[in-house]
Symmetry: C2
Subunit: 435 residues, 2 copies
């Protein structure tokens, strides 16, 4: 019995996937039973990095998801449409689906998994988060015996590359972004990466798996790295931190015993203590830290993107579906750890209710008593400070850095509003959360 | 339908396992269908960290593996016997087995898996390596689509704790071992840990999974950390390295196109470049780095021991068996990624054939020409040097440090034999491999 693959897309990841499936020696023996049946492409004439028989290729993607011979549809087109529609059609036709498409799953996961469950098929997405790092299946199959407290990840390689270079070269965001674009590490339109939206899609998916409920993507707070400056990175360094774009999903400590449980799900540049396992993840690498009871902390590290790494995850998903079908061909019940049965939506805390530490940098007129006034404003709003230090001058302005204890974000923002109205305040160039 | 667990052993890991299974709220819903049926203990009167109904406990371990009501036997006794016999009896009685016992699996894995395959049952061992880190199942289910080149791990927490403290405190092995024993980080008889035998069991298991064949444990080369000195750690630091006890399973580069493929499987203290992902794994933590094509490098990091972490892995295995049985109750075929079908034994290269870099420290009489003589001896045996430096004096002896390029270990040893016969040589206090 051979499992027949319909591959939608032959870009970087598609070509990498085909390459593994066409060169199966010395890989898992189960791959011998998996074969590429057809590949949907935009243009038949384009040259490819992988040798393929002409008759495998077609521009008719609909035909692939409707082809009764195809067992598993592998969607590596990227983008929302036609990816979403093709996935739904494949499911309606009783085909299993493997996708690397975090954008589609984060937005249409509920629709897709509802359809998959009623059709009795699997939708696998290991490649959607963390590239080649096995993180989706460990969360689904292993870590769930724990009470998960938090999932914290560096899940966007482009921004981690930019922040790493800003740190090493003491450069500014704009210059390094431009260079990263030249070198192919950032896209011509870098919005999805640098504004944290890609990381937002990914943490929505991880949060859903870790906390066992659906996540409304519009409730995920996303803040990117455009405002991070060389000055902040230098101060972070002095204080014993590095700045990383973290994607965080965390169960809140209830304020009282009767408070409802809520999740924080957010993406923001963060001061990370240098001793923290995520602090040393540099360049385009990704890492995901999972914390739970009784396990403690485990971290998964590896290449977050790239043809080979992502294809490794895609083919692993194909192999897992093949394995279940092989041992379980007549079953009417889906394997409970490979399928997704979430029904309810997780309650996501508004960003104002998040409790975290903050770092903020102020430029103020150099007058006596400014530090006292800042302290008073923070006190007025219940914001407890760890330190408030004048660190120097910039032009004729005094530069003051504040680090808070854990505070409610809403209170911190109100304090900032009051501070902005002070005569002595010129500006607040940086506000960053501290892990 | 509930799955009934017979738990053999109620020590640290057993109690941790029971604790999870008795307190299932906010964990994976599948755990609701798993219940403890009986627990085998040595003494009924001992006080336990976990509250258990008296009628669950028995001192008759045989009765548990023979009890028709038990679906899954969980062996957390440790040690070779009666663990091995009880596992084999459970299998013969058609029960699935979850074990945390690296020693039994590394020694009797062939016997146990042959029996399991013929009885049509699963033997799961996530907890046997890396404590709470999911590494066994990612290797079995995900990473195998790659051509694995190497698995390199810090898999023994005790030795990593000792080496980390030797590095931080500039202390000697004996003193820190004694203190670690006082603090409970090392056992009264530390042999299995400090001589690398525990790590040897674990790398044998990882090698078997990564390279798809059985491993003869007696072919695994094990060298411990007793000879590592504060002086070596200091020189390593100067040269840009830290010293770690690494467990390594690596496909050798064939010397010629016709050379047979062979595996290196070994445990030895190693110079690890400070920039390497394993260099920053400190204290009792474990980490396993897997390298393959096309994936590149992925690393798994977490607590390598402890009641909670290990129990997390044990319960995850139980849940995986339950999931397969639930979706697949009448199947006659084992799930190919959860079972183990290795038949052949991997060819393990003798340690003399390993190709690696070396660091060696010599004490020599302070005579002109000693460095030249050392160089000549190495040259005589085809050992190419990266550096040879006199770094100082110790008493009236000159201290010379040599770092080689990649060399065949057999050649290096022959060169050392010749060097030992030189008049000018007092001793060779340290010989360490370099990653």
């Amino acid at each position: 019995m051979a499992f027949k693959i319909g591959l939608l897309g032959l870009g970087t990841v598609g070509a990498g996937t085909a390459q593994i499936l066409l060169d199966r020696a010395s890989r898992h023996p189960l791959l011998q039973e998996i074969e590429i049946h057809s590949i949907g492409v935009r243009s038949l004439s384009k040259s490819r990095p992988v040798q393929l028989a002409d008759e495998l290729l077609t521009t008719d993607l609909e035909a692939i998801v409707n082809d009764p011979a195809v067992d598993i549809v592998v969607e590596v087109l990227g983008g929302l449409e036609p990816a979403r529609s093709l996935i739904l059609k494949a499911i309606a036709n009783g085909k299993h689906v493997v996708t690397a498409n975090k954008a589609v799953i984060a937005r249409y996961g509920d629709e897709i998994y509802t359809a998959a469950n009623s059709a009795g098929v699997y939708v696998m997405l290991e490649a959607a988060v963390g590239g080649g790092i096995p993180i989706i299946q460990p969360l689904k199959q292993y870590l769930g015996v724990n009470r998960i407290h938090a999932v914290t990840g560096i899940v966007n390689g482009t921004t981690n590359y930019i922040l790493t270079r800003m740190q090493t070269e003491k450069g500014e965001f704009g210059d390094i972004l431009a260079d990263a674009q030249k070198l192919g590490y950032a896209e011509a339109d870098p919005t999805a990466d640098v504004d944290g939206l890609d990381a937002g899609d990914k943490i929505a998916i991880l949060a859903s798996l870790a906390f066992g409920g659906r996540i409304k993507l519009q409730e995920v707070y996303c803040e990117g790295i455009r405002k991070v400056s060389a000055a902040d990175i230098a101060y972070a360094d002095k204080l014993g931190f590095v700045i990383k774009l973290l994607a965080i999903a965390k169960l809140q400590q209830p304020a009282t015993d009767n408070s409802p449980e809520a999740l924080e799900v957010r993406v923001n540049p963060t001061f990370v203590p240098k001793t923290h396992p995520l602090a040393s993840i540099n360049g385009v690498y990704n890492a995901i830290l999972v914390e739970g009871e009784p396990l403690g902390q485990v971290m998964f590290f590896g290449p977050g993107a790239g043809a080979g790494a992502t294809a490794s995850a895609v083919v692993a998903d194909i192999m897992n579906i093949a394995a279940v079908l092989k041992s379980n061909n007549n079953a009417t019940t889906l394997h409970p750890l490979l399928s997704c049965s979430h029904q309810h939506y997780c309650a996501i805390a508004p960003i104002e209710d998040v409790v975290t530490r903050f770092y903020a940098r102020f430029l103020t007129k150099d007058r006596p008593g400014v530090i006292g006034k800042l302290g008073t404003c923070f006190g007025n709003h219940n914001v407890s400070l760890e330190s408030i230090v004048q660190i120097g001058f910039q032009d004729s302005l005094a530069e003051i850095v504040v680090v808070t204890h854990d505070v409610r974000e809403g209170n911190f923002r109100k304090a900032l509003d009051e501070i902005r109205s002070l005569d002595a305040i010129d500006s607040i160039p940086s506000i960053l959360r501290v892990l």
